[in-house]
């Protein structure tokens, strides 16, 4: 094996309520993997448990291994985890407005990332490297500014610069563009892609935006109710979804109309097409049904669905559904 990240049987729970169950996930070297799902599907918790930064009363079990780190990450003590974080594994968070320390100069915050892990020989060298990193994210001359003097997009680029500072083997981005203006999104996404490509870092990209996954990722995992319900290459999953939830998700997004372009426009204007939605709401955490987590919202559900659907396919491409789309309908 040479996967950068290997997650096996990851379960995250709070007071005996499972929020994430049996997640299997691998990311190969330099690979860009997407993790999609609605809010509450457990995607952010999955990322935080990889990083070991779950809130106090939330517990993770299972196995998380990272290449280049000779120990298990789940349950590792703070001393060992702090050597991994920011060095082998870095993260960009959703909310750029609050992710930076308001009382510290931007340059110092980037330089600190390198000083903590002693990847630069001196404070001076770290500052020079920080200036270069900031230039790389197209923010020249911001070393001495404070976060409040920057816009949201600019701040997110600072966070990206400090995440990339130590050439991590894996970069995790948790909805990095959700809080940004549409106009800035493309630029930040582009900088993320170029940043990981230049360092040959692997990327785990979390989002609920299917269009973003389609542009950024090679492979995708779909999460619902704390479980991975489908995975595979992006083109495969988006064009031939097997799990009924994936199918609904893709139908509900305007991915197709956006992709198919002008051909559809005539049709859309003549009879405004109402976007199909998935009936019902995402249940609150811990109140998903037994068996198939999606069955209470699924039009194809039968009694069989009361049992947990087995994983069909290979570890990197497959689905967990009793009545998959594209098969003879039940």
């Amino acid at each position: 094996m040479s996967d950068v990240l290997t997650v096996q049987g990851l379960t995250v729970s709070v007071r005996d309520v499972a929020l994430v169950s049996d997640v299997e996930l691998t990311v190969g070297p330099g690979e860009r993997v997407g993790l999609i799902g609605e809010s509450g599907s457990g995607k952010s918790l999955t990322a935080l448990s990889v990083l070991g930064l779950l809130p106090e009363d939330v517990l993770a079990a299972g196995s998380v291994r990272l290449s280049g780190v000779d120990h298990e990450l789940i349950g590792a003590d703070e001393r060992r985890m702090s050597r991994v974080r920011g060095r082998h594994l870095a993260m960009v968070f959703q909310e750029p407005m609050t992710a930076l320390n308001p009382t510290m100069r931007v340059g110092d915050q980037v330089a600190e990332a390198m000083l903590i892990h002693r990847t630069r020989s001196s404070r001076r060298a770290a500052r020079i490297a920080a200036a270069e990193l900031l230039e790389l994210v197209q923010l020249p001359g911001v070393m001495r500014t404070y976060p409040h003097q920057l816009s949201g997009g600019q701040r997110q680029r600072v966070v990206l610069a400090l995440a990339l500072a130590n050439d991590p083997a894996l970069l995790i981005c948790d909805e990095p563009t959700t809080a940004l203006d549409v106009t800035v999104q493309a630029m930040v996404l582009d900088l993320i892609m170029r940043g990981v490509a230049a360092r040959e870092s692997a990327l785990l990209f979390i989002t609920h935006d299917l269009a973003v996954v389609a542009t950024v990722c090679q492979r995708v995992l779909v999460m619902y109710g704390g479980r991975v319900v489908e995975s595979g290459p992006v083109t495969e999953v988006f064009t031939r979804p097997r799990h009924r939830y994936t199918e609904g998700l893709i139908a509900a997004s305007d991915l197709e109309s956006a992709d198919s372009g002008p051909a559809d426009v005539g049709l859309a204007t003549s009879a405004p097409r109402r976007l199909p939605t998935i009936p019902g709401n995402v249940p609150p955490a811990g109140q998903f049904p037994d068996g198939c987590v999606f069955r209470n919202r699924c039009a194809h559900a039968t009694e069989t669905c009361a049992t947990l659907p087995p994983w069909t396919g290979t570890p990197t491409q497959g689905f967990a559904c009793h009545h998959p789309a594209g098969a003879s309908d039940a």
Partner: protein
């Protein structure tokens, strides 16, 4: 930045002016005739008239007010109605004594509150945090003079380690000065520390929830260094505010503690002034205390700017 400085200075000057009118109005106008008050109801009308003439109390009130204010600005606090001695030198002497006491107790309060509040916040779900929290709640309920009495009972009466009361100027005998300073400063500082601990706790709790602290952890900082490097300055802002606001309470607390430990500070001067019915002394001391509070709060306001860069730009 400059705008803020100008604005704050204007607020300070107006506050000083208004409070001087309040103090003058309350202590010089409201009692009717300070000379009568000083000499008592049984004094002869001639004696009262004599005192009024001597101290210019027969002049119009506005003249008296500006005379008092102008004098104070030049360091002339007037003469005592009773002893006829100048009040200024007394205030200077006594102020130093009170300053020692208050500054030492602020240091003690901070030394107690900063670590205790941080531990309480970091362990707010564990037993140790809850125990500390309960302890601080008890500390808040103990008034400084009671703490003083208890400390005397333990360290002066039972153990005999420290003197029960008294005051020696530091220049005269530094050793004795320190020994006599310990108990009063502790009684004021520990109680203030208990109050402050609760504010430190909530400030640190707020900071712990901040995203930038998670960013710091994601960089590879361990929990305590992350809090130290990224949280401290941010948590300091609300704590400094409270410290500034508490100064008024602390100064007046010193008045009572001085009484417990027989310390010749501003408090004793104030209380002596009240019992001697020497209203000008009372008026001067109250004004000095109020000026001290207002000036310190002005400085605290400026300190924010040093702590929080967001306030440096004028938006």
């Amino acid at each position: 930045m400059l705008l803020r400085l100008i604005e704050r200075t204007a607020v300070l000057l107006v506050s000083l002016a208004v409070s001087s009118v309040l103090v003058f109005g309350f202590l010089a106008v409201l009692p009717g005739d300070p000379a009568r008050v000083a000499l008592g109801v049984n004094a002869s009308d001639e004696a009262v008239a004599e005192l009024r003439r001597q101290f210019g109390l027969d002049r119009p009130l506005t003249t008296q007010y500006f005379d008092w204010l102008g004098g104070m600005l030049q360091g002339d606090f007037g003469l005592s109605y009773i002893s006829k001695a100048p009040i200024g030198p007394q205030i200077t002497d006594r102020f130093q004594v009170t300053l020692w006491l208050v500054v030492t107790s602020v240091v003690i309060a901070l030394v107690v509150a900063a670590p205790a509040g941080t531990v309480m916040a970091a362990r707010h779900r564990q037993l140790s945090g809850l125990a500390l929290s309960a302890l601080s709640q008890v500390g808040v309920a103990v008034p400084a003079f009671l703490a003083g009495i208890l400390l005397i009972m333990v360290f002066a009466v039972k153990l005999g380690w420290l003197p029960a009361n008294g005051w020696t100027p530091p220049a005269q005998d530094p050793g004795m000065f320190l020994r006599q300073l310990v108990l009063p400063a502790l009684s004021l500082g520990l109680v203030q520390g208990a109050v402050l601990t609760r504010y430190v706790r909530s400030a640190v709790l707020d900071v712990l929830r901040e995203d930038y602290l998670r960013t710091a952890r994601a960089k590879g900082l361990r929990p305590f260094p992350a809090l130290w490097r990224h949280g401290l300055r941010n948590a300091a802002v609300p704590v400094v505010t409270v410290l500034g606001l508490q100064l008024a309470t602390l100064l007046i607390g010193a008045v009572v503690v001085e009484r417990v430990f027989v310390i010749p500070g501003l408090g004793s001067l104030l209380l002596d002034g009240v019992s001697n019915r020497d209203l000008l002394v009372v008026q001067d001391v109250v004004m000095v205390l109020v000026v001290a509070v207002l000036v310190v709060n002005f400085l605290v306001d400026l300190l924010y700017v040093a702590l929080d860069p967001r306030l440096r730009v004028t938006r």
